[in-house]
Amino acid sequence: MDWESLMQPLILPLVKIALLIFIMMTAAAYLVLLERWIAAWVQDRKGPNRVGIPLTKIRMFGLGQPLADGLKFIFKEEYTPGHVEKVLYTLAPLSIMAAALAVFAVVPIGDVLPIELPGTSGPIQLIVAPHIDVGMIYIFALSSIAVYGVILGGWSSNNKYGFLGALRSSAQLIAYEIPLGLGILGVVLAAGSLRLDAIIYAQAETGLWNVFAQPLGFSVFVIAAFAEAARLPFDLPEAEQELIGGYHTEYAGMKLLLFLIAEFLHMVVAAFLIVILFLGGWHFWGMTVDASQPIGWPMAIARIAILAIKVLLVIVFFMMVRWSWPRFRFDQLMNLAWKVMLPLGLVNLVALTIAYEYEYVNDLDGTTRGLWIMVAVGWAVALVSWVLAAVFSPLHTDNRPRRDVTDAPEYEYEPETLRQILATGTQRASANGP
């Protein structure tokens, strides 16, 4: 077997994987720097601005900071405390990191590159696994593995903070996976495919991004994506004022870094998904889109750049939100997931189902009239559910003390029982005990 026949099935994917992992690790490092700069700017202080080229006085606005941080983490002690379950403790950061990176196998980072290599057919698609038809399901499956990493880490740490953080985190992640899925279903329905590149093409060909046709689905998806990425206002898993570090309290050095990178990659994936599913991916108005025609270099570069800029803007939005909202209380978080997001997602899905079926049966698919119908239905549903939500759960009720706790009839001990408890430290079993 000569190397040309290995080009398409083996060499090309390997090159793409190496490039993508390099890009993602570098991007994660520099996005951390960006986040610290934004944090500094929001809080009106100076962020990291010192580290430049070592042994010189060149500071380069702190651009050397990520390299210094990475080196520091490598030279930290690789420590496993004595009280943990060692296998699971090591497995947790490995699994969460591998899953967070592997998601990018089906995420396109552009359209195609017009290069003809020996042994390949057609232009090179900027996606590691271009023939996976179940891209969204794959992403769903891998994002569920993140729950394993979290709960393994928290459980094996043998630390109460870690354990509480893991419980909270897993409850939050699985609760918000349902609204996430409901938001995705509307997009899948519109595109008729689970492939991310096909979803972009479906939006590019009509020029109507899903955010305009399905505003309610977009809101539900974005909120669920924030929760899945455990970003503020949903960062309860590691709420540092309450739980030290949540599920990674007992982690240090490189294992901690793996957790932190994985969390950051979750945010990057969420930004990619928001852009690809709802904001048109690499499409921008004025761009001629025809999947059957080959594209030239300027168009190929433009599509990569547009996608990258959109993703970067969404990431900056993520970071600004972090410094703009306080954290939810846990009961508010669960209420939001089950009692607000889930019904809204269901309403959105039912409305889209009926509207798309009407459009399809009446041969309005892709016509201007069909698009207007979709936009009208989408915004009407969004508006009605917003009004309903505002009526049934007005803003001023959101932050009141928990009524179900304060209104509950408190159990009062009989004086005799109370005296007994105080004296002996135990309560004798009684008929009217709690």
Binding site: I21, H131, I137, I178
Partner: protein
């Protein structure tokens, strides 16, 4: 000879390899010191009382069960969502006589969604979603 899933396997292997490699590298070059206090769980400076692995609140199980129900029901909707407006989907099944009519499929999906909504309302009334 091009496999669709081979790149995914390669990617998973590469990602795992990167994570393991980083751990090994750090273990090789990092210092190693141990001590009695360092071995203790960090609980804000308090000496830890009893083991962590104890029973925990039943409401977490409730959330898990509710998640299973709704997530699996959602998964059933994905094949339909893909096939609905795809030329290779429901229309082809109808023309090949596999399905009676498009309207029937649509009605079935609406019934399914109604069942989903009914089960949701039932669970809500039963207090599954109340976080006490």
């Amino acid at each position: 000879m091009e496999s669709a899933v081979l790149p995914v396997f390669l990617f998973v292997v590469a990602a795992t390899g990167l994570a393991v490699g980083l751990l090994v590298l750090s273990a090789l070059v990092g210092p190693s010191k141990n001590g009695k206090v360092k071995e203790m769980p960090y609980e804000s400076g308090m000496d830890p009382i009893h083991d962590t692995h104890r029973r925990f609140d039943v409401r977490f199980y409730l959330v898990a069960i509710a998640f299973l129900v709704f997530d699996v029901e959602l998964l059933f909707l994905y094949p339909w969502a893909v096939a609905s407006r795809n030329p290779l989907g429901i229309d082809r099944a109808v023309s090949e006589g596999l399905v009676e009519s498009r309207g029937l499929v649509f009605a079935e999906v609406l019934v399914f969604l109604a069942l989903l909504a009914a089960s949701f309302v039932y669970a809500w009334r039963k207090g599954v979603f109340r976080w006490r």
